[in-house]
């Protein structure tokens, strides 16, 4: 058995330190060591994207990263994107446009969509579908997820214009 490593992460703005075996996947460190259970595990082949988080500005499937690889990184999970009484525009929009049913893919969908809109604030429907292609949903058929993201994009852009 290999020695445990001393891991330091900044998760949702908070410094976290813990010991972990090198083989520990980031998703399990988040869920089991840090009790951040929004990111989910939907597969073991890196397809579903339910474990998606933002690491140093990248959308990453946290099931396909060892905890040591993330050492020293800044991570944002769904828990860091909004608060229950102050939802992020995307969270509000997923609710408004019925972009979720069982909710299992939603944390990964919303963390990915956050990054997508940062990179492309005015996506077309096709760009949303392509930009979300690393996230699988079993319930919605995607249509309302696309609607939610497009609506959130308009709202964010309107807010930006109003602020100028």
């Amino acid at each position: 058995m290999s020695d445990k490593m001393h891991i330091k992460l900044k998760v949702n703005g908070e410094d976290k330190e813990f010991l972990a075996e090198p083989r520990e996947l980031l998703i399990f460190a988040l869920r089991e060591k840090l009790d951040i259970t929004g990111p989910h595990v939907g597969c073991e082949t890196s397809h579903c994207g339910a474990c998606t988080v933002i690491i140093d500005g990248k959308s990453v499937k946290s099931c396909t990263m060892f905890v040591g690889q993330a050492n020293g990184s800044e991570i944002t999970t769904i828990e860091g994107i909004g608060e229950p009484d102050a939802l992020h525009v995307l969270q509000e929009s997923f609710r408004e446009h019925h972009g979720l049913q069982c909710g299992f893919c939603t944390p990964g969908m919303i963390t990915r969509a956050t990054k997508l809109l940062e990179e492309n604030p005015t996506p077309t429907e096709e760009e949303v579908r392509f930009g979300m292609a690393g996230n699988i949903c079993r319930c919605t058929g995607y249509q309302n997820i696309v609607k939610s993201i497009l609506a959130a994009a308009s709202e964010l852009n309107a807010a930006k214009e109003a602020a100028q």
Binding site: M1, S2, D3, M5, E21, P22, R23, L25, V41, E44, T45, S46, H47, G49, T52, K58, S59, V60, K61, C63, T64, M65, F66, G68, Q69, N71, R112, L116, F130, G131, M132, A133, G134
Partner: protein
């Protein structure tokens, strides 16, 4: 889902990497983006007692465009490759191919070096690199050497790279003329049922030069010299396309799997190659 235990290394120099590889031989592996290796470790199809993470090695993620010569550091991610304006205009086939690889998350992590070094015939970049006639640059205990991408692949997961060598970069001359990477796949993120990389240059309304490579239609990527030669001197008309396809079909050796039986793959390979040639010709 649960990989076997291993020792993790995150060295800062290539000298340290080579030393660890030499010390542990077959028991050590380098990891780039981890998006082929970690899935294999999770399924226990790969056991790596000593895992060397390359992310802290300086300069490995550089993209250099010097005149016509392009050098891509092994740790350049697919995302960076798509995003790089200079590279997209100097070698647009790379962006076109990268956008057909995996999905956004995987492209943030997966690297060009890992894609080329992996040795899985499903990977798209090996064929693209053969099409470009790229050189694969390796560093090992005895120094560095280069191998042509067209000579690099020996069999599935078997390449010319020795166990104590690391692929550090890939270099090639910026292509001129038209290009296309055409890929038939079952869905986003799937490896190709058949894919074709094509570069064509045009002179006086005729094909002046053509390079054609096929993906996932053999246990290695296939650069079909004959298929390219069949186009040269023609006006890229229907007969030339048929001749190129016939030559290509003589060079591939697909295997039956969930993507279809051999006859289907050969059929799809022909369709895909014709589309790729037509698109490259239109752009030439």
């Amino acid at each position: 889902m649960i990989p076997a235990a291993f020792d993790y290394y995150r060295p800062k120099t290539m000298t340290e990497v080579i030393a660890i590889l030499q010390e542990h031989g077959d028991d050590a592996r380098v990891m780039a983006g981890g998006h082929s290796l970690i899935p294999m470790m999770k399924l226990r199809m790969a056991e790596v007692p000593h895992l060397i993470d390359l992310q802290d090695i300086a300069d490995l993620a550089d993209i250099a465009i010097e005149g016509q010569k392009i050098t891509l550091g092994a740790m350049v991610t697919q995302h960076a490759l798509i995003d790089h304006t200079g590279l997209s205009s100097a070698a647009p086939i790379l962006r076109e191919a990268s956008l057909q690889i995996a999905d956004p998350q995987v492209r943030y992590m997966g690297t060009i070096g890992g894609n080329v070094a992996n040795g899985d015939p499903g990977n798209d970049m090996p064929g693209v690199m053969q099409c470009l006639d790229a050189q694969i640059n390796l560093v090992g205990p005895d120094g560095s050497r280069s191998v042509a991408a067209r000579d690099y692949y020996e069999a599935a997961y078997m390449t010319d790279r020795e166990d104590d060598e690391v692929l550090t970069s890939i270099s090639f001359q910026a292509p001129t003329g038209g290009y296309a990477y055409e890929k038939q796949k079952r869905k986003i993120g799937d490896y190709a049922t058949a894919a074709a990389a094509v570069l064509i240059s045009k002179s006086d309304g005729k094909v002046a030069s053509a390079s054609i490579a096929m993906t996932n239609l053999s246990d290695v990527p296939v650069w079909s010299e004959e298929a390219g030669a069949a186009l040269v001197g023609t006006a890229c008309d229907a007969a030339a396309l048929e001749a190129a396809v016939a030559a290509m079909l003589g060079d591939i050796d697909p295997a039956e799997d969930n993507r279809g039986p051999v006859a289907f793959k050969r059929h799809v390979a022909g369709v895909i190659l014709k589309r790729a040639i037509s698109r490259a010709w239109d752009r030439a």
